[in-house]
């Protein structure tokens, strides 16, 4: 039994590049719940689930959820306060 991997934003750099059309691991992201700000690479990422879930390292709230649905991606950014792209 392998433990689910808890990684960081680096691990989904390729996926996020597909979503945003640009390299975003260095982009500052502000949590919509607690206001913590840090690069996307510093966010806590869960990849062993039916999608990708990105959480705030300070308060664990969900910031971004990405699910590949057939040929497109369903991206929920509702937990993000701000992205400085």
């Amino acid at each position: 039994m392998s433990d689910p991997r808890v990684l960081d934003g680096n691990a989904v750099g390729g996926l996020l590049h597909d979503v945003f059309g640009a390299e975003v691991t260095a982009v500052p992201c502000t949590c919509g719940s607690c206001g913590a700000r840090g690069e996307i690479a510093r966010l806590v990422v869960y990849v062993d689930c039916p999608g990708v879930v990105v959480r705030c390292p300070a308060c664990t709230q969900v910031l971004i959820t990405i699910v590949r649905v057939h040929e497109h991606a369903c991206v929920d950014l509702s937990g993000v306060g701000r992205l400085e792209l």
Binding site: M1, S2, D3, P4, V6, Y46, D48, C49, P50, G51, V53, R55, T60, V62, T65, V67, V69, H70, C74, D76
Partner: protein, 199 residues
Amino acid sequence: MGIISRGFHGRRQDGPPDRVPPGQYLTDDFPVLSAGPTPHTPLEEWTFDIRGGSEPVRWTWDELQALPSEEITKDIHCVTKWSKLDTVWQGVSVDTLLDAVEHDAGYAIAFCDGGYTTNLPIEDLTGGKAWVAYGYDGEPLEPEHGGPARLLVPHLYFWKSAKWVRGLALRDDDEPGFWEQNGYHLRGDPWLEQRYWGD
């Protein structure tokens, strides 16, 4: 479809087609899938609530343990494509719990420690199809697999078998839960391959 890599097969096993739904592969281990940190609610604080009926109903951990329970052997199917046959659980039938509540709801949302939610029609929770499970393979359910208790609804994709379940909110409408808001099918029948919206 990507560029085919000569000689690559992957590690999948196929299984008997009457037991393995379309697009699924068999696994011998029990992958742990998680969308967030594992919660650890002490049993003295743990409760299971059903809301939305004529009155809210609550069971403490001891009260849940005192309810009639059964051993359940079922195949489970994860939308990430693995299936595991003959998994053995211990738990209380959701029928037993819903019998304690007066309601005429058509749907429910399961809510959990950590904030996870998933929605189900009452039909899929009743008639001996769903349990609140607290034992797996003869042992207490481990936290990474949803312990102390998880919902178990094996006839639907396993994201409906919500880990760390703390109750059901009964509703008249089918309000999407976490994955259902993010592209996954509202119902999730593996035999109809209902993985995503519109499937």
